[in-house]
């Protein structure tokens, strides 16, 4: 069987395994879930080693007829872009399982349901990135909402039901717009050489569209992705969802699911509608830049630590979007790498924040204080995660953020300049909570908080290690990403701007 | 006589019937108005049969009568039941189900 399909099936099998374990053997359930996710992670790493980075076409391809009446195939394959994102998903999942060992306990339903949902979600995450058939992508895109919806609404805290509904409605709305566009594509393809959903074949279809059609179809896709990624002003679901979800769910939500949005922009918006992408680039850049600054300001003003992290993500997604639409290799590679790095730094932030909250029973930043003395390991973990979030050089986010900025600057200097102001704001939105929560005198109620236990240390360790390692040595990922980015830029008919002074005065 | 005039009459009858359904409260009267509409249709059919010189219209009219008779059976059964329950044949009284 195809390696990629197998990878996607593994978590489902795990879910099946979990479902047959009796409800009262909670430990067994957790162990089974952890073992499955670890196995998936290892398999994905193995795939990464077998991936031929120099080859820009899809690899590990499998195509099987699914719904021949509509030309729909089960078609999967990965290029550098999707491989990186699949890696991100499957690496984060075991960490989430381990880090949120007790997350399932405050929920409406049993631990079993929780882990089944997580495992099903993992399958869908792999599927959504691996799909090379637009219809298949859409199916995963929509279907993955359901487990997340139940994870938020069933195991979250606070206004969890409302947040889950808001998340679902936003996403469904976007999804339906995309469905309209997909139908449009389908009809156009069936009128021009046979119905198909194959991404490669569909990317020829723009030749048969009027510019109005192309613009409309582009918007259908883009709005769906802009909701997912969240780009200002379609972001308001994210803080609510992130604040209500369990930390683990938030990690998957912000770390992986939202990446589907930015992934989709590259994979679908750009390649299917090159002309429309060009038309809308200025507007999108404006929105991206607004996201960067706006998200940062709202993060500065946030009182709740989870909302704060959510707003920082909005800012970061602004960077990613900007990098994508800058149409330079640096911007693209930076954006892709940013997706990966943001996954890890947000994961670290959310996990540590989750532990802080579960110990303190409050998510208000002001309730913390002086944690650096009480719980040094936890405080340090948060600090390093925060530093990564503000893109401190030497940590992974810096590389990607700088690539995005430099890549944008060569083509759209104004956008890059405004975005760069975001790095000052980033310093504020990280250091303010650091000061309030970690520094200062120990606030009453915090004196006896326990520091991270061994399990938590094991969970956060790899995340921080990845953050630091990729900061110094991003080559393993960049080597995979670069050919894919270059391919996208080239197929868009762009080439990187040459140094303006290179040829002499 | 111009057969089209029958069409006008039929149209008039249909309209009267339809308006009757809308304005009358008593279920029986409403039902009678519907019968009027059916008969307006019958008249139309017959007229067209005449105009077109084919028989189908008349055949249809016969079928309609049979069907209308069946409708009466069912309709009266329902109306009578509801009258027995409510002691009223006003269709406005039967408005529990709304919104």
């Amino acid at each position: 069987m195809n390696a990629l399909t197998l990878l996607g099936l593994l978590p489902l099998l795990g879910a099946l395994l979990v479902s047959v374990i009796p409800n009262d053997q909670v430990i067994r359930i957790k162990q089974a879930a952890l073992a499955t996710t670890l196995l998936v992670a290892l398999s994905a790493i193995l795939m990464w080693f077998n991936f031929d980075a120099a080859n820009t076409s899809y690899q590990f391809v499998q195509v099987a007829e699914w719904i021949p009446s509509f030309g729909i195939n089960y078609a999967v394959g990965v290029d550098g872009l999707s491989l990186v994102l699949i890696l991100l998903s499957v690496l984060l999942t075991p960490i989430v399982v381990l880090a949120g060992w007790n997350e399932s306990e405050g929920g409406r339903w049993s631990a079993k349901v929780f882990y089944i949902l997580i495992l099903v979600l993992e399958t869908m995450m792999i599927g959504v990135f691996a799909a090379t058939d637009v219809f298949l992508f859409y199916v995963f895109f929509e279907a993955m909402l359901i487990p997340v919806y139940f994870l938020i609404g069933g195991y979250g805290s606070g206004e969890r039901a409302a947040a889950a509904v808001k998340f679902l409605l936003y996403s469904l709305f976007g999804g339906l717009l995309m469905l309209a566009s997909i139908i449009g594509l389908f009809v156009i393809s069936s009128k021009n050489g046979g119905a198909t959903f194959d991404i490669t074949k569909l990317s020829e279809m723009h030749n048969y569209m009027s510019s109005t059609t192309q613009n409309l179809l582009f918007l259908g896709f883009f709005i769906a992705f802009a909701i997912k990624a969240p780009v200002w002003p379609l972001h308001t679901w994210l803080p609510d969802a992130a604040a209500s979800a369990t930390p683990g769910t938030s990690v998957l939500l912000l770390g992986v699911l939202d990446k589907v949005g930015t992934f989709g922009m590259i994979r679908f918006c750009l390649s299917l509608f090159p002309d429309a992408s060009k038309t809308f680039t200025p507007i999108i850049l404006v929105f991206a830049v607004i996201s960067i600054v706006y998200g940062a300001f709202l993060a500065i003003g946030a009182r709740d630590i989870k909302r704060l992290i959510a707003y920082t993500s909005i800012s970061h997604f602004g960077f990613i979007t900007m990098g994508i639409f800058a149409m330079t290799t640096q911007g693209h590679s930076g954006a892709t790498l940013y997706m990966f790095n943001h996954g890890f730094s947000t994961a670290a932030l959310f996990l540590v924040a989750g532990w802080m909250i579960s110990r303190r029973k409050s998510s208000t930043i002001a309730d913390f204080g002086g944690l650096q003395r009480v719980t040094p390991v936890m405080a340090w973990s948060f600090f390093i995660a925060g530093m990564s979030s503000l893109a401190l050089p030497g940590l992974s986010s810096f590389v990607s953020e700088f690539l995005v900025l430099v890549g944008t600057f060569t083509r759209y200097p104004v956008a890059a300049v405004i975005a760069t102001f975001g790095i000052v704001l980033a310093a504020l939105y990280i250091l303010i909570p650091v000061q309030k929560a970690l520094h200062g005198p120990t606030t009453p109620g915090n004196e006896n908080l326990a520091d991270l236990n061994l399990r938590e240390k094991i969970a956060i360790g790899p995340v921080l290690a990845v953050i630091i390692a990729l900061g110094f040595y991003p080559a393993p990922l960049l080597n995979v990403i670069n050919p894919a980015s270059a391919h996208v830029i080239e197929s868009q008919g762009f080439s990187d701007p040459l140094p303006s002074e290179g040829a002499g005065k | 006589m111009n057969p089209y005039n029958y069409l006008y009459v039929a149209g008039l009858l249909f309209t009267i019937g339809a308006i009757g359904v809308v304005v009358r409260r008593n279920a029986i009267v409403v039902f009678m108005c519907i019968e009027l509409m059916l008969n307006a249709a019958n008249l139309t059919l017959v007229t067209f049969a005449r105009i077109n010189g084919t028989l189908e219209g008349q055949v249809t009219a016969f079928f309609t009568m049979v069907v209308a008779a069946c409708e009466v059976v069912v309709g009266l059964a329902i109306i009578v039941t509801i009258y027995r329950s409510r002691r009223s044949a006003s269709i406005d009284d039967a408005s529990l189900l709304k919104r």
Partner: protein
């Protein structure tokens, strides 16, 4: 004038004849069999006749022709598919009807009277519901295959009259049930008057009562266009009334709510299939060449129907009313298939009808299970926390809601996709956009119910989930399985429909 002896092709009529025979036997049983033997024998006869009718349809599926009854009916691929769908739904509906808890013991008894109490004590059964069902089914089988206007009208009445009665058979809230019967009857009769009036004008226009004759007249263009106009308009009123399209929808929420739930399910599913079967045949066969006349009007009706159904459903507090408005919205979606007026529109409509019919029946079957001491509980507020009390029931209901909402991996999604793409293929961008928009609105209330069931705490008011009877359980299980299987592997059915569905002229 020469009368020819009618030549009947009994094989092609056999499904209808079998069902009618079953109905007649049922009447005889009602008349002669002892009271305590009636129920089981009636049920047996009903199922037997329905199943054999189904077998008969299947056995003659390859036959096609208009000569079954002197050009009065046509048997073709589309007819087979629709009849088969109706029969499958009818079998499932009989499973539900068999759970006699829903029905009054003595329909003639005055609500609250001594007579009624006695009949309840004696545990009497309204076994006449079985022959009524069979008569209705016979009408439904005839309606979509009728090719002349008389047969159409007779079939319409044969399917409607039993339903009027069945709507009044509820055991609880009998006043409402009777009111539903009255409203359904009066408005139904009112609309059939329009229908008949339309028949008269079409006859006047073309001088013939066969659909193919009308089509030829339209092609010939010799008739008086005013008659055609009036004919199409009045006929449409009758048809649109049956499917519950706005503004001819007003009966359906009231009747759906008042009728016994099993009957509501049967009505919502089977009537819709039959009526759309007829609409498709009439519009595709008779009126196709006059599309420039009726299409704009129908587009507007479809748009209003989709939007109205979705918007009003949001505010409903009664589950049956909510499903009624949802079925109005779905009528709008189905009209999109009529408007498409192409082969894919026909295929899509048939698939949609099958998927939607089965799911609707399943959803109403679930409604019959939620009860308190006074019978079914349809107030949505009292459904809150259902997921906690009975996770399986709630999950299956959620599944049906998701398929109504058109979430991928359910049959509803495939249906929606195929029907909208057919509509867009024929150039109806407006339908596509409205469809997507109203799907988004519709998602709002489906999700609200899911939230209610899963994310709200149960109210302790004696509402409970009864164990479904074996037959109900089977019906629900079949519906759920069909919904999922058609969501994941729709290809066999789709290609079967694609290769089978056609209209003979």
């Amino acid at each position: 004038m020469v009368f020819t002896t009618p030549v009947l092709n009994y094989a092609q009529l056999s499904p209808i004849l079998i069902v009618l025979a079953g109905a007649v036997i049922g009447v005889l049983i009602e008349a002669f069999a002892p009271r305590n033997a009636r129920h089981n024998s009636q049920m047996f006869i009903s199922l037997l006749s329905l199943v054999s009718a189904f077998a008969a349809t299947v056995s003659i599926r390859k036959q096609a022709g208009v000569d079954a009854a002197m050009n009065s009916v046509a048997f073709d691929g589309a007819a087979f598919l629709i009849q088969a769908t109706i029969l499958i739904i009818a079998v499932l509906a009989v499973f539900l009807i068999a759970d006699q808890e829903n029905f009054t013991a003595l329909a003639a008894a005055i609500p609250g009277s001594q007579e009624e109490r006695e009949s309840l004590q004696k545990d009497l059964r309204v076994t006449e519901v079985y022959p009524l069902t069979l008569f209705a089914v016979a009408g439904m089988l005839l309606f979509p295959i009728a090719t002349d206007l008389i047969t159409l009208f007779v079939a319409l009445e044969v399917l409607s009259l039993p339903l009027y009665l069945m709507a009044g058979l509820s055991r609880r809230r009998r006043l409402m049930s009777q009111e539903a019967a009255l409203k359904y009857f009066l408005l139904g009769a009112f609309s059939s008057a329009f229908f008949l009036f339309g028949i008269a004008y079409l006859y006047g226009y073309s001088g013939t009562i066969t659909l193919s004759g009308i089509q030829q007249s339209i092609v010939g263009g010799s008739g008086n266009d005013v008659f055609l106009l009036l004919g199409i308009a009045f006929l449409s009123v009758g048809l649109l009334f049956k499917v519950g399209a706005v503004p001819f929808h007003a009966w359906s929420p009231d009747v759906y709510q008042g009728a016994p739930t099993a009957i509501t399910g049967f009505m919502a599913a089977a009537t819709k299939v039959a009526a759309f079967g007829a609409i498709l045949r009439i519009f595709y066969v008779a009126f196709a060449n006059a599309e420039w006349q009726w299409r704009p009007a129908l587009v507007i009706v479809a748009i209003i129907t989709m939007l109205f159904g979705s918007v009003v459903a949001i505010t409903q507090r009664d589950v049956k009313r909510m499903l009624a408005y949802s079925s109005i919205a779905h009528a709008g979606f189905l009209l999109a298939g009529v408007i498409a007026l192409n082969k894919s529109g026909l295929d899509a409509s048939i698939f949609y009808l099958f998927a939607y019919g089965i799911a609707t029946l399943g959803a109403f079957a679930i409604v019959t299970l939620i009860r308190d001491a006074a019978g079914e509980v349809t107030d949505l507020n009292r459904w809150s926390g259902l997921g906690k009390r009975s996770p399986l029931t709630a999950s299956v209901f959620a599944l049906f809601l998701l398929t109504f909402a058109g979430i991928p991996l359910t049959s509803g999604f495939i249906g929606k996709f195929s029907i909208f793409s057919a509509a867009y293929q024929s150039g109806s961008t407006a339908i596509l956009i409205t469809g997507v928009l109203s799907s988004a609105i519709a998602a709002f209330f489906y999700i609200r119910v899911i939230v209610l069931m899963f994310f709200k705490d149960p109210v302790e008011d004696g509402t409970s989930v009864v164990l479904p009877s074996a037959l109900t359980a089977i019906a629900i299980a079949i519906a759920a399985v069909v919904t999922i299987v058609l969501g994941i592997f729709p290809a066999p059915l789709l290609s079967f429909i694609e290769s089978t569905a056609f209209f003979i002229r």
